[in-house]
Structures are given as C-alpha cells and as structure tokens.
Subunit: 353 residues, 2 copies
C-alpha cells in the first residue's frame, strides 16, 4: 500500500493512451480525466495531437493532447491510460516510459505486466531518481473469515451484466450525490482506475485466488468509519473469463444492496461476440442467489448506460426496465445519480433504521 | 511446469506431517499415501514415532512413522504433507527442511509460502545440489476466451458443499473405476495434492484472479485426447473465503455434468463454525444455475462422505439423499465408485451418443 500512498500527490499527470484513445481500453484515462481533471496536465497520443480531452472523450474540457512528454515540462507523473484484457504493456510504449524516467517523471501503471519486473525500466528509474508504481501489485495473503461488520454499516455493491459498462462511474456518482446530501459515505476502489482516482483500494483481479474475498473483507474492515460503503464492482458473474473475480469480490464485501449496471443494447460479452449476455431479470435472480449465500442481499436499483441511445430511446429504455424489473432506474451520465442515491437511502432506513 | 515435471520420479518420498498427522490439514499426506503408496518411504512426525500409516490414517499399510530423516537413508524427496488454510510453513519445520537439503534431498511444497522465496533454503539447496519445488507456484497469464471443446469430449467436475469433503478422492476413484471399464478418461488436478499425485495440473487457488478460468481452460485444451475429463473441484460456491476459486474453476472447465460431494453430518463451514452450510438441494440448484451461465450442466450424482457414520447410518443417509434429490448416491470410500461411474457413462451416452 505504501507504493500507492502518493497517488493523490500528483498534480500534473500526463495520461498515456498513444494510439488507443478511441479504444474501449482507454477507460483508465477517461476515468482519471473524469474524476481528477484538475490534476491532469495532458494526454499523450501521437495520433490525436492538437485535439482536446473534450473532443476525444466528450468531457475533460481543454486538457490538451500532446505528442511527446517534452511538451509538458511540469509533468510529475506519467499514468498508463489503458486497461486491456490480460494487461500487457504495448511494446511501442517502452521508449515513452524510458523517456519519462529520464526526465525524472514517475511512471504509474495498472497493468498485470509489472513495471518493476523490467530490469531496463528499473535501472532507468534508479538512475534518474524516478518511481515505478504498479497499482495492481499486491501482497494480499489474508483468508476471509466471514467477518461480522458493525450493525450501523450499509454495504452497497455495483454489479454488472458485463465488463466496462460503467460500474466504477456509477459508484463514484452515487458517492458524490450522497455526499452532497450530507451522508457519511465512501467509494471503495477494487480496480486499477478506481485506485488511481481514490488513492487507495484493492486491485482485486490481481490478488492470488485464495485471497480475493479476504483482501476485500479487510478493506471493508478498515473503512467501517464510513456509514455507507460503496464498493466498486468487477467483471460479471456470467463472464467466462472473470466470474471468479466477481464472485470473490461479492462474497468479500457481503453487500445488503446491489446496483445492477448494464449497457443498453449490448447483447454479447465484450470482446467475445460469440457469447450472448443473459436477460436482466436473470442477472437479478443470479446475483441475489449467490450474494445471499453470504448475506441477505437484493438488487435495489438499475444503472442504465445509455451511451448508444438518444434521449428519447433512453427514456423508453428506463421505463421498460423499471416496468420489467420493478426497480428504480436511471443513467448517471445523463440523469445524475439521484434515483440511485434515493434507493440507497431507502435501504439505509430499512436496514439501519 | 518444468519444476513439476519430475514429481512422479520420486520413489522414496518422506511425508512431513510433524505434529499434524491427526489434523484435518494432513490431507496432502493422506492423499499421497492413498494414491502413491508404493512411492512413500516414511512419514515424519515426532509425535507418532513407531506407528504406521495404517494406524494413523486407516490405510497405507506398513509405511513407518519416523522421527528424523536420518532414519530414511534412501529418501529422495521430502514432501510437505499439510495444506493449511492460508498456506504458511510452520516455523518449527524450517530446521527439518534445512536438514533435508543438507542431505541432498529435494523438498516439495504445496504451500502458498514459497520455499524459493526463503534465502536460507535457497542457499542450502544450492550448496547441496538439492531442489526446492513449489507446486503452487505458477505464472498463469492467459485470459479465458470461452473456448469450444471438441464435440467428443465429456467434462465432469466434482463440486462440494465445503472444503475437505473428499472431492479429489471422489474424482480419482471415478477415474480408476472408468479406466477399469476401459474408458479413455483422465483426472485433471486443480490443487497441490492432486498435482503431487498426478504429476501435472493447475494450482488454481494460487493463480492470479484474472486468470483462474483461463488457466483451467488451457489445461482442458491440453487434455482433449482424453474422451472423459474428470476435473478436481476446489472449495465451495458458498464458502465465504474461497468461492471465487470455485466459480472461476467451474466456468473454466465448463462441465456438462457435476458430481456433488458432501460430508454427512457436517453442518458448518470447516474452520468457521458460525457459518452454517446450506441444504443439499440448494447446492444442486445453485451449482446448476451458475454452471449453466457458461454451459448447460447438471448434477448427475452425489458422493457421500460417510466417515462419521456407521454402515447402517450410511445406508440410510444414501437412501435419504437419493430420495430427496432424485440422484444416484454412494460413498466411494465404502462402496467404491461404481454408482458414480455409471452416472458418468449414462451422461456420456446422452451427450456424446
């Protein structure tokens, strides 16, 4: 955790998304731009030089896209801005990382390929007194023991029908909305981007399998001063690659309430077009069944990601989902998180009195 | 995998269970005695010197229990014989490991605490030209991609209501029974003890979380020359510590049929007496639901572990379970695996024609 302690100290971050700004894997960059805009100095993508974050992502205002680190003399960190499945560093990026280190700029990565395992990077970092920070690197070795959480804690967990549907954004937006309302609440990060934003958390997909639930349980036990814990979700229970992560995380955080996140119109697993997704009602049923093995839990609301829909189609989708599932629904990107925050507060009253 | 390639070459194994032979965690030793009896020279337990495997475990015949390695001059390997939750090496065992290395005896461990991370052990191994083999150590980094298995393969998976109920033994007994009947079948190990017995496999509980299913999927793809693949199970879907492992394994092997293993009379999770187990019918329902997210699957038989029952009570238990679940059932320790092998062959006819 020491390695990550300083993540929030960077105030002139360059986000590296070279050649990948418009790909789905740039979600680390978009997350950091969205929630740490004031700390981002530039985006480095040689394919998009002269553009702005706003033009690339639809938010992020005038953050410039540059073609080299030399254009950002104030840079204090280079953040790897992508999160590809498998987590490898693109070979072509190595010279950019070496240049950063030579300039004394720290490099922060959320990849499975650890920077500290590359002797060339380690040597360069040492020579120029720069840091290599692997956000996913961890030494979690605690077996979960079905901890009892304090009676005055509410645990909410974002679950999804697939990867990359906006679970992190939903959780952060609900946190911000509840904080605006004066609630004592905290976002608990479980992925590399969330950790880069919050400065703390458990990179659950990189924990050794036996310790997934234990790492999450420990994180919650460290945060019981927050009345409402909002735990970021990962993957999907039906995802053929990552369901083990999803399951261990779900049992580790033992939520009383879940928010089901999905992307309207997505019909197949991301990256696996031959694998159809299930119906939303099946996700509700399955998540409630398996969460209930650990602690009584139910889906309390639905977060629709309507990025492929116009406003009218989104309104219709929200109505359809509300009718079909009998649950409140909204799109946090377009409607804000008020409806979801209402559902959390309703459950708080029910559970905590 | 290279490190494990020689596991079957050891023909004079000493099993280290010092002070723990009668504990539940000695299941690595009992597994190796049960399935590699001819390769075991002795058991090292200073508390039980003069006893035999038969007296300690109820099988293993005249394998002697010794108090020091010096009593077994032919020893070619010292196997750590326990598998405690969390997987740490008892401090008091370190001198025994050092003595083995000083004698040029290889040390084989299935603990999470890797021997190769201990500089003192590494130095001793180097000096005396002995090997340190960590069976759980792996570099699995393949993301599962929902592989299609050949149409002429049957995948059977042992699942359980808890840890340590005999899933490995059930799988090995079914393999042996099917082989006696002439089937082209293979046991695929997913835990340290199974790997020590079979000489190959995936230590699934020690794989980095994102790669659990991928590691298992790859193992199956390497073994499609076997018509019937029998995949060892791990943990339980309701286990608050290990359900992520269970889930990732289940989706990685995508079984058409499952054998539900349970210990009669066990009412709470092993090691967590405050966590009640669910009913068998709930396990059937939940396993079929979550396996079905990956591939249509059903529980085809029940393996009763009747170690706490006398013969009459076991007969009654088997009848009760058969009636309640409408599934064939038996105890492989007492009845052999014929009933389970029948269920597998019936499913083979159904699925493969």
């Amino acid at each position: 955790m020491h390695e990550r302690a300083d993540l929030l100290s960077y105030k002139n971050i360059v986000l590296l998304t070279d050649g990948a700004s418009r790909s789905g894997s740039a979600k680390t960059a978009t997350g950091v731009v969205r929630y740490r805009q004031q700390d981002v100095a530039a985006i480095l993508d040689r394919d998009e030089v002269g553009s702005t974050a706003q033009q690339l992502f639809g938010f992020g205002s005038e953050i410039p896209v540059v073609g080299s680190l030399g254009e950002v003399p104030t840079a204090d960190a280079l953040f790897i801005g992508i999160a590809p499945a498998g987590g490898n560093l693109p070979e072509a990026w190595k010279p950019i990382l070496l240049e950063a280190l030579q300039r004394g700029v720290d490099v922060v990565s959320g990849l499975h390929d650890f920077l500290v395992n590359d002797p060339q990077l380690v040597a360069a970092a040492r020579k120029h007194d720069a840091k290599l920070i692997d956000v996913r690197r961890n030494h979690e070795k605690t077996v979960a023991d079905h901890a009892s959480f304090p009676a005055n804690n509410l645990r909410i967990h974002a679950v999804g029908h697939d990867c990359s549907v906006g679970k992190m954004v939903v959780t952060l937006e609900v946190e911000r909305e509840l904080q605006r309302r004066g609630a004592n609440t905290r976002f608990l990060a479980t992925g590399q981007t969330g950790i880069m934003i919050a400065g703390d958390g458990v990179p659950v997909d990189c924990v050794v399998a036996d310790f997934i639930s234990g790492a999450v349980e420990q994180m919650l036990l460290r945060n019981t001063d927050a009345e409402i814990m909002l735990v970021e979700g990962q993957g999907s229970i039906s995802h053929p690659s990552f369901s083990g992560v999803t399951m261990g995380l779900l049992h580790g955080c033992a939520p009383q309430g879940m928010i089901l996140c999905y992307e309207a119109g997505r019909t197949a697993v991301k990256g696996l077009p031959h694998v159809p997704l299930k119906s939303l009602s099946e996700y509700v049923r399955v998540y409630e069944t398996i969460a209930g093995l650990r602690y009584p839990s139910r889906v309390i609301a639905v977060a629709v990601n309507g990025k492929n829909l116009d406003d009218a189609a989104l309104d219709e989708e929200v109505r359809r989902v509300q009718d079909e599932l009998g649950l409140p629904a909204c799109d946090v990107y377009r409607h804000g998180a008020g409806v979801l925050a209402d559902a959390v507060e309703k459950l708080r009253t029910e559970v905590l009195g």
